[in-house]
C-alpha cells in the first residue's frame, strides 16, 4: 500500500508535534510532502502523486476550526473540477482519505456542551465533502490533542498509532492490528542485536500462537452460534 502524507503547517520547524510525526514515519511505503514549502504547486506532479497513492492523509494543526491556508490553496489549485469528477473518470475513487489533526484543546472540548461546542467531525465536514465528491473513502480521524501534555509513554504509543493510521488496512479491528504487527515482526526481529534475537524469535512464535488460538476460538464460537440458530 502506498500512502501520501500532505502536511499543511506554516512553521513546520517550530512544531514539536510535526517533527515528532516526521521522525515516526514508517521506513517504506509513505511519501511525505510539506505543502507550505512548495513555491508553487506543480499541478500535474501533484495529481500524479494522488493517482499513485492508495491512502491520502491531510495532516495539520487546527487553526480557527479549519486547516491552515496552504491546504486550501493546494485544494483550489490541484483538485481541479476536471481532475476530480469533471470527465467522469473519478481517478480518486476508492482511495482512502484520512486526517491527522492536532489541537491545542483537549478531546473533551470538541463535543456539544464542551468548550468548543463542535465535534471535529463537524468541523472537518468540508474535507469530508471533497472526499465524498471524489468518491473516496473517509477514514475515522486521528486527532492528537495537546501534544505538549503527552507523557513519554503516551508519545511512544502515538508513534505506532500514527504508523498504523498511515499504513494499516481499515477498519481498525483486532484482526487487522494483529496482521499489521505480524507483517513487521520478522524484520523487527532481524533488526535486533544478535544477543536479543533469540528472545525476539521466541516472542514472534508466541505471538503467532496467540493469534492462531484466537482464530480457533473465533471459529469454535461461530460454529456454536450456527447450531444455536437451527
Amino acid at each position: 500500500m502506498t500512502t501520501l502524507v500532505l502536511v499543511a503547517h506554516p512553521h513546520l520547524a517550530d512544531s514539536t508535534s510535526q517533527q515528532f510525526f516526521k521522525a515516526s514515519l514508517p521506513a517504506t511505503g509513505v511519501t511525505w510532502e510539506h505543502l507550505d514549502a512548495q513555491p508553487a504547486f506543480d499541478i500535474a506532479a501533484e495529481q500524479d502523486q494522488l493517482r499513485q497513492a492508495d491512502r491520502i492523509i491531510f495532516q495539520f494543526p487546527l487553526y480557527w476550526y479549519a486547516a491552515p491556508a496552504s491546504l486550501k490553496a493546494w485544494e483550489d489549485t490541484v483538485l481541479t473540477r476536471t481532475f476530480v469528477y469533471g470527465d467522469h473518470r473519478y481517478p480518486l475513487a476508492g482511495k482512502e482519505l484520512g486526517i491527522v489533526v492536532t489541537t491545542g484543546m483537549p478531546a473533551k472540548a470538541f463535543q456539544r456542551g464542551g468548550v468548543e461546542g463542535q465535534t471535529l467531525d463537524a468541523l472537518l465536514a468540508p474535507l469530508a465533502a471533497v472526499a465524498h465528491r471524489a468518491r473516496m473513502t473517509w477514514l475515522p480521524t486521528l486527532a492528537v490533542h495537546q501534544f505538549g501534555y503527552l507523557t513519554e509513554a503516551q508519545k511512544l504509543a502515538l508513534v505506532v498509532d500514527y504508523q498504523r493510521y498511515l499504513t494499516q488496512p481499515q477498519p481498525d479491528t483486532l484482526a487487522n492490528r494483529q496482521a499489521w504487527f505480524a507483517d513487521r515482526l520478522a524484520s523487527m526481529v532481524q533488526g535486533l542485536t544478535p544477543e536479543q534475537r533469540a528472545t525476539g524469535e521466541l516472542i514472534a512464535t508466541t505471538f503467532d500462537d496467540h493469534r492462531s488460538s484466537l482464530d480457533e476460538l473465533t471459529d469454535t464460537l461461530a460454529m456454536i452460534k450456527e447450531t444455536e440458530d437451527d
Binding site: 521522525a23 511512544l156 505506532v160 494483529q178 504487527f181 523487527m188 508466541t206 496467540h210 484466537l214
Partner: protein, 58 residues
C-alpha cells in the same frame, strides 16, 4: 510464571534495550496488543463456556 506474564516481561525488557525511540515504541505496542489478545481470548473462552453450558439440553 504464566505464558502471558513471560511474554509481557520479555517485551518490556526488549523495549528497554532499544536505543531508537521508534523501535522501543514497536515492542511496547506489541505488548499492548498481546494484552488485548489475552483479554479477547478470555472473553471468547467465557462465551464458549457459557453457550455450551446448557442444562436444558442435558
Amino acid at each position: 510464571m504464566t505464558d502471558d506474564q513471560w511474554l509481557h516481561d520479555q517485551l518490556q525488557h526488549l523495549a528497554r534495550l532499544q536505543p531508537k525511540f521508534t523501535d522501543r515504541a514497536f515492542w511496547l505496542a506489541l505488548d499492548r496488543l498481546v494484552a488485548e489478545q489475552d483479554q479477547r481470548r478470555e472473553q471468547l473462552q467465557g462465551e464458549i463456556d457459557g453457550r455450551t453450558w446448557r442444562p436444558d439440553r442435558w
